[in-house]
């Protein structure tokens, strides 16, 4: 589509930011992302500028400077871009005493408002902590008319179990069926966080569950050896040492849980034979 704006001069004001976003704004000018090829030049003073990049949650003290910088800009093309989560909504500091805040709510009920939008009308929000150069490029591209907006608000209604969805934004409840019981999955998942970290644990756990499933299917009478061989087979393909450590750990942990729950089951049944009807 045709580009509306060919040359936008940008002026950057730091309203008390942690300078993570300022560095990303400078990063966008560095050779790999080069904002200047889109015709956007960063200028040293608001008089020459058409657009205003604001970073930071608008601390009480920078409010004066931001207001003046905004007024010093020539009135006609005043585009204001809020770069970063702090500029979009006050970020992690949103209800601190040192931030300028005009909205009556002070606590958790103030989800949406915060940051420089209290004193300056903002045209474009680029959230991110800090937004990577690609995100800033995406925001600027939207401003120049190169890209379209992709985000859209969502409102889901989570239906209680056993109800079928009628409208399209209603979703029925589904616990994903896994070969191992839910409590095994939860315990293993929690312990994996300690062994391999929260990011890789999903994939490693899924692989392990498949192996357990195959072990129980292929040799129900002696699953332990079967699982052991399957895991060693898995190691032929998966060369990564940390994933191997995690798989061995999962295997031992799985059998420990298996024995413990079973023993607990017998103990309870022995101790309280009369269970029905109580």
């Amino acid at each position: 589509m045709g580009r509306r704006l060919k040359s936008v001069w940008v002026y950057h004001v730091d309203a008390g930011s942690c300078n993570g976003c300022d560095i990303e704004v400078l990063d966008v000018l560095s050779p790999y992302y080069d904002l200047e090829r889109l015709g956007v030049k960063v200028v040293p003073n608001p008089r020459h500028a058409d657009a205003l990049f604001i970073t930071g949650p608008l601390t009480r003290q920078t409010r004066i400077a931001l207001k003046k910088a905004y007024e010093a800009m020539p009135p006609k093309p005043r585009i204001v871009v809020a770069v970063g989560t702090c500029a979009s909504s006050g970020g992690i500091f949103y209800n601190s005493y040192a931030l300028y805040n005009t909205s009556p709510q002070r606590g958790r009920d103030r989800l949406r408002s915060g940051g420089p939008e209290m004193i300056v009308p903002i045209d474009m929000y680029i959230p991110g902590c800090p937004p990577s150069p690609e995100e800033i490029l995406y925001g600027v591209a939207q401003l120049l008319g190169i890209k379209e907006k992709k985000m859209k608000g969502e409102y889901w209604i989570a239906l209680p179990p056993k109800e079928t969805p009628s409208k399209e934004n209603e979703v029925e409840f589904r616990i994903p069926d896994r070969p191992i019981p839910l409590r095994y999955w939860l315990t293993l998942r929690e312990e994996l966080r300690r062994v391999i970290g929260y990011y890789d644990r999903e994939a490693v756990l899924n692989d392990f569950i498949e192996l357990v499933d195959r072990a129980f299917k292929e040799s129900p009478e002696n699953p332990r050896e079967k699982l052991h061989d399957l895991v060693t087979g898995y190691f032929l393909k998966e060369k990564d040492s940390r994933v191997k450590v995690a798989m061995r750990f999962l295997e031992n942990e799985f059998w420990r849980l298996y024995d413990e729950y079973h023993s607990l089951g017998e103990a309870l049944r022995k101790k309280y034979p009369v269970t029905a009807g109580v």
Partner: protein
């Protein structure tokens, strides 16, 4: 499974120079706004609440440092709204880490700049459990009850006869326990449950 790559090989295969088409020679700039790119798999984009798995337990709300996730209660309509605002999310993925059902999925969506803030808000509405005896709504949702039943082993549910007592308010539960005690006076009831459940009994 054999011919597909293993987990780490898939991750290793991702190469930034191919995706963003940087060139090795002098002008190394990426043609990004004019081509579509995606972030590395490990990138922490904005989390997405998967309404199918979410049980509205609020663990993510407690773990979220900037309060980007909040619970809005509507006790009259018996509804609890879990609201996520991407404008305030600092993408630390603590919610992804603590979510018990894996409903908080980590995406690597990074193109979320918008001109109106309502696009960044994602809401999941849950129906609260209703206690017939006292006629008022409880704090937890029905999906939570379902999930707890799925977790607890069969023996425990039968032994404490939790089946019918889970969906009640606190007083209703206590009243039920007291009635059960009077009804089975001489039964060999384990003492510690009495003290914990009965409270004053």
């Amino acid at each position: 499974m054999a011919e597909s790559l293993s987990y780490t090989e898939k991750l290793k295969k991702w190469n930034r120079f191919e995706v963003e088409k940087f060139s090795k020679k002098a002008p190394v700039t990426t043609p990004y706004p004019f081509i579509d790119i995606e972030k590395p798999p490990e990138y922490r984009g904005i989390p997405h609440i998967n309404p199918e798995k979410c049980i509205g337990c609020g663990a993510c709300v407690n773990a979220c440092p900037p309060d980007a996730l909040i619970l809005e209660w509507d006790k009259k309509r018996g509804v609890k709204r879990l609201t996520f605002n991407a404008a305030r999310c600092i993408r630390c993925h603590r919610c992804v880490e603590v979510c018990p059902t894996g409903a908080m999925e980590p995406t690597n969506i990074f193109e979320i700049a918008t001109d109106n803030k309502e696009d960044l808000v994602e809401v999941v509405e849950h129906k609260l459990a209703y206690c017939e005896e006292c006629g008022e709504y409880l704090d937890f949702t029905e999906r939570q009850i379902e999930y707890v039943k799925a977790i607890l082993p069969k023996e425990i549910i039968d032994m404490y006869a939790l089946e019918d007592r889970i969906g009640l308010t606190q007083e209703a539960k206590m009243r039920k326990t007291v009635e059960k005690l009077r009804e089975t006076e001489g039964n060999a009831y384990p003492a510690f449950i009495l003290v914990k459940k009965g409270g004053e009994e």
